[in-house]
């Protein structure tokens, strides 16, 4: 019984984390290039809606994913235009997008589907879990059956994408030309510029990548997790992703660990509800809900070294004193 719950916690963690992982890695590109991306929330929501709406209309989840990507990239480009070309305030741009999308997705969903800002059920237009070959064969072997069929297997394609993304992102950020330029632009855009790197181009590119990655987060919400779109269903995931990013010191591996930590505490919290604990007894449900957040604060305050943001983050690149 005990083991079983541990298994449940692990599976929950793995399935919850991708929403945050996609968004946090998206934010990593944006912020490493020097653009604060507080607009993750809005992009998640918009791509969630677009994915669901198009997947429903075409009855094909892949079109849904493409639509989500298009919408998320479009928003990222709006953000980029405002932050890079217009040299506007990046926080304002992000928050504006979050607020606008919270309203617009509802209005459009209501307009098209008349279900109170909800899309109809996707049913077969969802992305279904991959069943690895031979799952049935090993199903009854203890541990291995579970490991193969329910942890490694039995996940959505997007879960694999999320976890494969980590080494890819790590490589791109630290071992590619784009990554080098990206980091330079976020740290000292003047130096990058003097070295002949176009700061604008690099930042636009980073925002483009951020848009693409973020769209998976939205698609995952609707096409994998819930099977429909609901107003404000991102429920703060964008902000949590940003937190994971800060937590991870803007480094891919640590950021992903941050996302997994959120997933883990979410999973543990589920198991704690209604259970008598030693010393404290039975915690009220509403306080248990706060555990992941309290843990984050404690960890940030205590264990972690001070996290250091990319130096040029949030500042438009202006050639002036």
């Amino acid at each position: 019984m005990e083991d079983f719950q541990l298994a449940s916690i692990i599976v929950s963690t793995v399935r919850n984390a991708p929403v945050l992982m996609f968004a946090a890695l998206a934010g990593l590109f944006a912020e490493r290039s020097g653009v604060v991306d507080i607009g993750l929330e809005g992009k998640i929501l918009a791509s969630a809606f677009a994915s669901a709406a198009v997947a429903y209309a075409t009855q094909n989840p892949w079109y849904g994913i493409l639509a989500g990507m298009a919408v998320s990239v479009a928003l990222a480009m709006v953000q980029a235009f405002v932050s890079i070309t217009q040299k506007g305030n990046q926080l304002v741009a992000g928050i504006a997008i979050n607020i606008a999308m919270s309203g617009l997705t509802f209005v459009l969903a209501q307009f098209f589907f008349q279900q109170g800002g909800r899309t109809p059920d996707l049913r077969n237009a969802r992305l279904f879990d991959v069943v690895l070959p031979g799952t049935a064969a090993v199903e009854n072997i203890p541990v291995i059956g579970w490991l193969y069929g329910h942890l490694i297997g039995g996940q959505s394609v997007l879960v694999y994408v999320a976890f494969l993304l980590l080494p890819v992102v790590h490589w791109v950020v630290y071992h590619s030309r784009f990554g080098l330029r990206l980091r330079a632009c976020g740290e000292n855009p003047h130096a990058a510029d003097a070295a002949g790197v176009s700061v604008e181009r690099t930042r636009y590119l980073a925002m483009f990548v951020a848009g693409v990655l973020c769209s998976f987060s939205g698609a995952y919400l609707t096409l994998v997790q819930s099977g429909f779109f609901l107003r404000d269903m991102s429920a703060g995931a964008g902000y949590l992703a940003l937190t994971a990013l800060v937590f991870g010191n803007w480094r891919p591996l640590h950021t992903v660990l941050g996302c997994l930590m959120f997933g883990l505490f979410g999973a543990i919290q589920i198991q704690l509800e209604g259970v008598d604990l030693p010393v404290v007894g039975r915690l009220p449900g509403s306080l248990i809900q706060a555990i992941p957040y309290i843990v984050t604060v404690v960890v940030l305050a205590g264990l972690m070294a001070k996290s250091v943001a990319p130096k040029a983050i949030g500042k438009p690149f202006v050639k002036s004193r």
């Binding site: 590619s176 080098l180 330029r181 330079a184 003047h190 990058a192 510029d193 003097a194 002949g196």
Partner: protein, 509 residues
């Protein structure tokens, strides 16, 4: 032969400031060309236009006789132009290697090239006797080493036209000498070098031709061989510069500062200052000479209250400075200021001013609690009056109290800082690198102010990497090396070689 670079009628304005006005001159291929002028004369702006950082409002740049529209640094680099900026253009948290590769990676995969580039850098370092580790991270390097990285970058990219904007401002004499060695080597290889500096000595030493700028315009162009320091100074400032400033005879008063057995260690236990002992008396200037990074900055920071010593004692006019029993230096500078310690910090943009405040607001910086009324509010009319007065007295240009101080030239920012600290009538004045990056006219005026302060009986502790400056101002000299005092000598014993040895760590006998 075609000139390597030719400027034709270049004009560039920033808002109301005309930084370059109708600038025209040519730079011969394979020559070292000096560009001099007061702070704000427009030298950096012109070079930034050449390097594609700024775009001119009008006019034309010709490279090798061809008109070129250089709109980005990328394009400038493609034309073989390299620039070492006044403020280093390095990404601090990256290695030397990555900084060199940035913008010139040679493919999407970095790993493919890293080894080759590293080997090439080591080879260049050998050939030019540059002491740089390609795998070191920039923020671990001294200023001089960072300078060498900038040069390394340009050599690696084999720039044919090299712009150096005040490269020697932060270098020691030895470092400057070795830089000049490299520049001569470049010249031999047929490269063209444009050198901006405020040190006329250097102009005389290395350039072939000089262009003098004032207020955005070219006001003179001469062959170096046919001119003199005095003539250049005259052209730059529009008046003769006094080479020797008048000063009252050395007549020190009571002891103001007594530093005993001061020690400082960083968080990792590395010793930054050890066994610092010296005294300072009213009406005397003691100058700390030394290569930067040998503890001078830390010493001034401790004495100004910005930092706590690990141990030791400092007596100021007979009382111990209150270091003990504190866990951090929060608010300590205010207490020290209250006691009568003024401080001109060595990095004015980091510590001395708030760039986004107006000049007026910066004139009360550090004294904000002195100018409030009993409601804790500022009387801006009074502050403005005082500011106008200070700006006139210290010749701050442009004389506009409402200007953002960030828009002032470095020299004028420095004048504001000095004016502010002087106006507080301190008993002890701590001055770090007072004339770094400052033109000779302004140096003269800053030196005059400091000497007047001394003559009024203020004790002055000055730290400077310029031996010229030390000689011009000091009554006594302290030489520091590796966080220790290696020698204390009176000004009459000033001897460049001896000081050089002490700076190199040769301990006092």
């Amino acid at each position: 032969m075609q000139p390597a670079v030719e400027f034709r009628n270049i004009s560039k304005a920033f808002g109301a400031v005309q930084a370059n006005a109708d600038v025209s001159f040519a730079i011969a291929k394979g020559s070292i060309h000096g560009v001099i002028g007061e702070n704000g004369a427009g030298k950096s702006t012109l070079m930034s236009i050449l390097y594609g950082y700024y775009n001119a409002d009008s006019g034309q740049v010709l490279i090798d006789g061809q008109p070129q529209d250089i709109r980005t640094s990328h394009e400038a680099i493609a034309l073989g132009i390299g620039m070492v900026h006044q403020h280093f253009m390095l990404v601090e948290n990256m290695t030397v290697l990555d900084n060199v590769m940035l913008g010139n990676e040679g493919g999407f995969k970095l790993a493919a090239k890293r080894g080759a580039v590293e080997a090439k850098l080591r080879e260049i370092c050998d050939r030019y006797r540059l002491d740089v580790d390609p795998l070191a991270t920039i923020h671990d390097l001294s200023v001089g080493a960072q300078q060498r990285v900038e040069i390394l970058k340009q050599i690696y990219r084999s720039a044919n036209i090299l712009i150096l904007d005040e490269p020697t401002a932060v270098l020691t004499a030895q470092e400057t000498a070795s830089l000049f060695e490299i520049l001569r080597l470049f010249k031999e290889q047929g490269k063209t070098i444009i050198l901006i500096t405020h040190k006329l000595q250097e102009i005389m030493e290395i350039t072939d031709e000089v262009t003098v700028m004032r207020a955005g315009r070219v006001v003179g162009a001469v062959k170096t061989a046919e001119t003199s320091k005095e003539q250049l100074a005259n052209m730059m400032v529009g008046r003769p510069i006094q080479s020797e400033l008048p000063r009252a005879p050395y007549n020190p008063g009571a002891e103001v500062l007594k530093v005993s057995n001061l020690q400082l260690q960083d968080a990792n236990g590395v010793s930054l200052l050890s066994d610092i002992d010296f005294t300072l008396r009213a009406g005397e200037v003691v100058a700390i000479a030394g290569v930067s990074g040998n503890g001078q900055s830390e010493l001034l920071e401790i004495l100004s209250g910005m930092r706590l010593p690990t141990s030791g004692k400092v007596e100021f006019v007979g009382k111990d400075l209150p270091y003990t029993g504190r866990t951090n230096a929060d608010g300590l500078p205010a207490e020290f200021r209250e006691l009568g310690i003024g401080h001109v910090p060595e990095d004015r943009l980091r510590d001395g001013v708030i760039k986004d405040f107006s000049v007026m607001q910066n004139t009360v910086f550090g004294y904000q609690d002195k100018v409030k009324n009993r409601w804790g509010l500022f009387d801006y009319r009074k502050i403005a009056q005082r500011c106008a007065h200070l700006m006139t007295a210290f010749d701050v240009r442009p004389n506009n109290p409402d200007l953002r101080i960030g828009l002032l030239s470095g020299g004028n920012q420095q004048k504001v800082v000095i004016a502010r600290e002087v106006a507080a009538k301190p008993k002890l004045m701590l001055v770090g690198q007072p004339t770094r990056g400052v033109d000779i006219g302004t140096i003269e005026s800053i030196h005059t102010q400091l000497l007047r302060l001394r003559d009024e009986g203020v004790a002055i502790l000055l730290s400077s990497v310029e031996l010229e400056e030390v000689r011009a101002l000091a009554d006594r000299i302290i030489v520091m090396s590796g966080g220790r005092i290696t020698g204390i000598l009176p000004i009459d014993e000033f001897d460049t070689t001896r000081i050089g040895l002490l700076m190199g760590g040769m301990h006092k006998h």
